[in-house]
């Protein structure tokens, strides 16, 4: 904590003093300490989540990443803020965290980015690493973004689902038609089609990241359309997986290994393992090497470039050894430079997006705004 800030804190009202004192228990600077050595008693790290931190989904995955950071830096103070909306309120929360002495802030939802940029400009000494965004033209020395190539394990899960389905209809419940969701749905469809050309993905939107009532209805309508595999891009995932299981349909999970919720129908899923990446980012900051590191830009990691923090979940019993071997092969091809979106890729209406031999860049994938052929659903 900076001396000026300390002075400021001391100058606050009597009532505020107690709270400020809690967060300013040390006074040395962060420079020169080494990670995991237990010497970061003054390191404060803030995490913002858009939803509750135990939603069996996106936010829980991020929260568990923060716990891995805590394990690696046992003396660091971790600040948690759940249910931070993607509005200017996020700015207020981040300012609050800086007031508490935050050295690093992880705003973990897409919509927090612009507010992180605003706050970062006013607080050059605090490092901001945003999950899932693209920096745009605004390059700052104290801000970066990171994400995994989520669509890779979604593609391989699609392969498993394409093999498992008997009705050739796969149901997909999603929240909003944002590029990452569209990329997931498309990757899932392409993966399924790669082993089962008749596979069709039916995409239904609930217009909410977590509305269990609508999720239950959406699951019903998909099953009624004949889907025998359900998957999703929602923040809370439990309802849909349980609905599929109760209806005798199969499940592909997202965000989190929920195989215990679906002992009969679990195929596989994709889940986050943020711990190693978060810890490495914090270590980089602690070492004073953040500026100009890959994390100080739009850091994307996939199978080709390193350890994708988004990994495939465990397999259910119906996935044959043969299919698993096929998936391992596909993963290897991604490691060797392939992409789930290797051409030819066609849009819903049959127009061609990527020719045979072409494949999109990370950035092109993250600005995707269409459904591929074989997806039933409407974006607008």
């Amino acid at each position: 904590m900076k001396p000026t800030r300390l002075a400021l804190a001391a100058g606050m009202s009597v009532l505020a003093l107690g709270a400020a004192a809690c967060s300013s228990s040390s006074e040395t600077s962060t420079g020169g300490t080494t990670g995991g050595s237990g010497d970061e008693s003054d390191l404060t790290i803030g995490f913002l989540y858009v939803g509750p931190k135990d939603d069996y989904g996106y936010n829980q995955a991020a929260y568990e990443g923060s716990q891995a950071v805590q394990a690696a830096f046992p003396n660091a103070k971790i600040l948690q803020a759940e249910n931070v909306p993607e509005t200017a309120e996020a700015e207020t929360v981040m300012e609050d965290m800086i007031e508490q002495g935050a050295d690093i802030i992880f705003p973990t939802s897409y919509g927090h980015l612009e507010f992180a940029q605003n706050v970062a400009k006013d607080h050059p000494d605090t490092i901001f690493v945003h999950q899932g965004g693209l920096e745009g033209e605004d390059k700052l020395d104290n801000l970066g973004t990171y994400f995994g190539t989520v669509y890779e394990p979604v593609y391989t899960a699609g392969v498993a689902a394409g093999e498992a389905t008997e009705s050739n209809k796969l149901g997909y419940v999603y929240a909003f038609p944002i590029p990452q969701t569209l990329a997931n749905i498309n990757a899932f469809a392409l993966g399924a089609q790669s082993v089962n050309p008749d596979a069709e993905v039916i995409a239904v939107s609930t217009g909410s990241w977590c509305d269990p009532g609508l999720q239950a209805q959406a699951a019903k309508s998909l099953i009624d359309q004949g889907a025998d595999v359900l998957t999703q891009h929602q923040d809370c995932t439990k309802t849909i997986i349980e609905a599929a299981e109760a209806a005798g349909a199969m499940s592909v999970g997202y965000h989190f290994d929920a195989s215990d919720l679906a002992p009969n129908g679990w195929i596989t899923g994709s889940e986050w393992n943020w711990g190693p990446l978060y810890t490495d980012i914090v270590q980089t900051v602690v070492d004073g090497k953040f500026v100009d590191s890959p994390y100080n830009g739009d850091f994307r990691v996939g199978l080709q470039t390193g350890d994708n923090p988004f990994v495939q979940s465990s397999y259910g019993s119906m996935v044959s050894a043969e299919t698993q071997a096929k998936i391992d092969e596909i993963k290897q091809s991604f490691i060797d430079g392939g992409s789930p979106f290797a051409g030819p890729v066609l849009k819903q209406d049959g127009t061609i997006v990527w020719e045979s031999g072409q494949q999109p860049t990370y950035e092109e994938v993250e600005t995707m705004d269409f459904f591929v052929e074989g997806v039933t659903g409407k974006i607008d």
């Binding site: 939603d55 039916i202 995409a203 239904v204 009532g213 019903k220 309508s221 974006i379």
Partner: protein, 301 residues
């Protein structure tokens, strides 16, 4: 597809029907309760937590009923004893329910719960159309279907029902028979909250098998609207609740079929259906309102 929408209307409609019936009871006695939304949340969380703790979903259901009733008692106390305004107090009670469930539900988000499973009724569930639509649901849904005629009969044919209606229509008469209408109203509001709590419990432990903050997303408010739509009649409440829930099922069904209609328009459909039918029916509904809904307010500032 009609069958699928009908199934969805009933399955998803229980958590709207029960609070609507609860609100009918409350309003028939002369008290509007916008706290229904809060009672639902309280019922949902209580059923979820107690279900997890005891491993018995039925104990959870009872807890849900009790929690819904408890919150409604707050409404009853402030409205009937302290004379606070009903609309304002109701919304405040909803805030209270939202906040308390957020606070105490934090540790239970996404936890595994022993769900109330569907119990197909032998024989009847095999019937074409009617079978899957009406006879393949969770026990609370059957209960809610039975509650409709039961409540109608209670209100129309029993002495207690007559007292309840008298509290809503002519409290003076009630008083000449030595019954205080405030007692009747307090009981009615509490019972209404219990029904709302039951609806929330069904939503959490049977329909979605999940708890998340604010998961009722306005169902309790919709219920208050549907009471007017239903002209304070339990039988019409059934129609209203299934109409709303059917509109949700329909919009998702249309999406799944790849319909060309705008997704956004479809998602507004359930609310528009309620608003339009309220408007279309309102002239006829005005005279059906329990009279005390007028009177209570005049003294309630």
């Amino acid at each position: 597809m009609i069958e699928a929408v009908a199934i969805g209307a009933v399955a998803g409609g229980t958590s709207i029907l029960l609070p609507t019936l609860g609100e009918v009871v409350s309003e028939r006695s002369g008290v509007i309760n916008l706290g229904t939304e809060g009672s639902m949340l309280a019922g949902a969380l209580a059923a979820y937590i107690v279900g997890i703790q005891t491993g018995n979903p039925w104990i959870g259901i009872v807890a849900g009923l009790a929690a819904g009733a408890a919150l409604a008692m707050v409404h009853a106390f402030f409205v009937l004893v302290r004379g606070a305004n009903q609309i304002a107090t109701g919304l405040v009670v909803t805030f209270l329910g939202l906040g308390l469930t957020a606070m105490f539900g934090q540790d239970y988000v996404g936890q595994g719960v022993v769900a109330l499973e569907n119990v197909p009724i032998p024989g009847l569930s095999q019937l074409p159309f009617v079978g899957p639509v009406l006879f393949d649901h969770d026990p609370i849904t059957y209960l809610s279907l039975l509650a409709v005629p039961a409540l109608w009969w209670f209100l129309a044919r029993t002495k207690a029902g007559l007292r309840l209606r008298a509290a809503g229509e002519r409290p003076q008469v009630l008083r000449t028979f030595g019954t205080n209408e405030r007692t009747v109203r307090a009981l009615a509001v509490t019972a209404g909250g219990a029904l709302a709590g039951l609806g929330g419990a069904q939503l959490a432990t049977a329909f979605t098998r999940n708890w998340s903050e604010g998961m009722t997303v306005g169902r309790g408010f919709v219920a208050v609207g549907l009471v007017i739509f239903a002209a304070w009649d339990p039988r019409k409440a059934l129609i209203g609740a299934y109409l709303f829930s059917g509109a949700i099922a329909l919009q998702l069904q249309l999406q799944a079929q790849g319909s060309d209609i705008s997704r956004y328009l479809l998602s507004a459909l359930p609310y528009l259906v309620v608003i339009v039918s309220l408007a279309a029916l309102s002239r006829r509904r005005v005279n059906a309102a329990p009279e005390a809904l007028d009177h209570v307010f005049e003294h309630a500032s």
